[in-house]
């Protein structure tokens, strides 16, 4: 079972929800921080047995002896990672999405794929929780290949909770695709609603079951609730706008460890997600 915690807008509380949710799971659980450009779930966890492994992606290498500069590869590459000059092709590996298409369209077999380091996957353990995070190397922009590598740490016998990157573009899609359930965390502000709509549109295209959490809830929740009602999306939980939560967060502490009165909220949320994921919506 895979639960992805996503949002449209950044800073709505994805990490807060992902970490606290993972900590109330009683069985085996894996928390995967797929926000590889700025992973921060680990700050809130007391993990040990830490390890790291290098992560690589395939990028093209041009064999200049065989290349006829026919430009088929650079015309094919929609990411503009290749440029054809009079007698050769220049490669910009930092723009490559590792699709392998250039090699397939090359009529001269002049393109081979080589491994290029893009980041690391870090690992740690804390009781029943195993934690993984991807960390993209500085200067790299290709988050999706690293996100997919982090997701290879998903195993069948543990509940997997994914902390997704914000937004609704490739990295968010890579982190939510093939989830059994997507939790969209939002806040009752015009920005929160606007970006929630973008996220919902994306999730609808992916045909994934989804529900909403209203974080920093208060007097303006209606704007989110009305939208959810209209779209028939369940509001799974509300986390009240509680200054103490922000204070705990700023000290790198979780809600449930700081304020145990919130444990039932996250346990209830977990149960609700399980129900929604199992049932027909």
């Amino acid at each position: 079972m895979i639960i992805s915690i996503a949002s449209g807008k950044g800073g709505t509380g994805k990490t807060t929800v992902a970490v606290n949710l993972a900590l109330v799971v009683e069985g085996k659980v894996r928390l995967l921080d797929c926000d590889v450009e700025e992973p921060n779930s680990g700050i809130f966890l007391d993990v040990h047995e830490c390890k790291a492994e290098e992560n690589t992606a395939l990028v093209p290498e041009i064999n200049n002896d065989a290349c006829t500069a026919c430009a088929k590869c650079s015309e094919f590459c929609r990411y503009n990672a290749l440029a054809t000059l009079a007698t050769t092709v220049l490669v910009f590996p930092e723009l490559c999405h590792s699709c392998g298409g250039c090699g397939l369209v090359c009529p001269e077999n002049a393109i081979s794929e080589v491994l290029r380091r893009i980041g690391v996957i870090e690992y740690g353990k804390s009781k029943n929780l195993e934690f993984f995070q991807g960390r993209l190397d500085i200067g790299n922009t290709m988050a999706p290949p690293l996100i997919r590598s982090v997701k290879r740490k998903i195993v069948d016998d543990a509940l997997s909770i994914i902390d997704s990157p914000p937004g609704s573009s490739c990295p968010m899609i890579a982190a939510t695709a093939d989830a059994d359930y997507v939790v969209l965390v939002t806040e009752p502000t015009p920005f929160g609603l606007h970006d929630l709509k973008l996220a919902v549109e994306t999730i609808e295209v992916l045909e994934l079951k989804h529900g909403v959490i209203i974080n920093r809830a208060g007097e303006r929740d209606e704007m989110i609730e009305d939208y959810c009602k209209e779209k028939n999306i369940p509001v799974l939980a509300k986390i009240q706008d509680d200054r103490r939560i922000a204070e705990a967060y700023s000290r790198g502490r979780t809600i449930i460890n700081s304020y145990p009165e919130y444990i039932p909220l996250f346990k209830g949320l977990l149960e609700r997600i399980m129900e929604e994921a199992g049932g027909i919506r």
């Binding site: 650079s74 929609r78 990411y79 503009n80 990672a81 440029a83 054809t84 000059l85 009079a86 050769t88 220049l90 910009f92 723009l95 922009t141």
Partner: protein, 120 residues
């Protein structure tokens, strides 16, 4: 000789576009006969990434030996340099004036990009 200029409009009276990769269009000017063609750049204006690279490829294909523009980033510069195209940055004003200034030897080529790379 062929000169490529980033242009906001399609005429020689239009202004130089300060952007290279996402310039509105390129004017490809032949100093031998004074004729020019306009290369549309819509595709790169709308590309997610690598606009500079593709624009540079376009300039190389046009046969230009020199590029007059506002700014040029590292990836575009790499392509232009590999193809031996001279890059002149900080060019402003009308296209025709820029061409005349170049002909008069008032503009000097740079040996490195003048702005940082960026994404998107």
């Amino acid at each position: 000789m062929i000169i490529a200029i980033t242009a906001q409009g399609e005429a020689l009276e239009s202004e130089v576009d300060s952007r290279f990769g996402r310039a509105n269009q390129f004017i490809i000017f032949n100093t031998d006969d004074g004729n020019y063609t306009v290369e549309d750049n819509k595709q790169n204006l709308n590309s997610d990434q690598g606009a500079g690279i593709q624009s540079a490829e376009k300039i190389v294909k046009s046969g230009a030996q020199v590029l007059l523009t506002g700014h040029c980033g590292p990836k575009a510069f790499k392509v232009l340099q590999a193809a031996g195209v001279e890059v002149i940055v900080d060019v402003t004003g009308k296209i025709m004036d820029a061409i005349n200034k170049y002909k008069a030897g008032e503009l000097k080529a740079v040996d490195k990009p003048d702005v940082e790379g960026h994404w998107g």
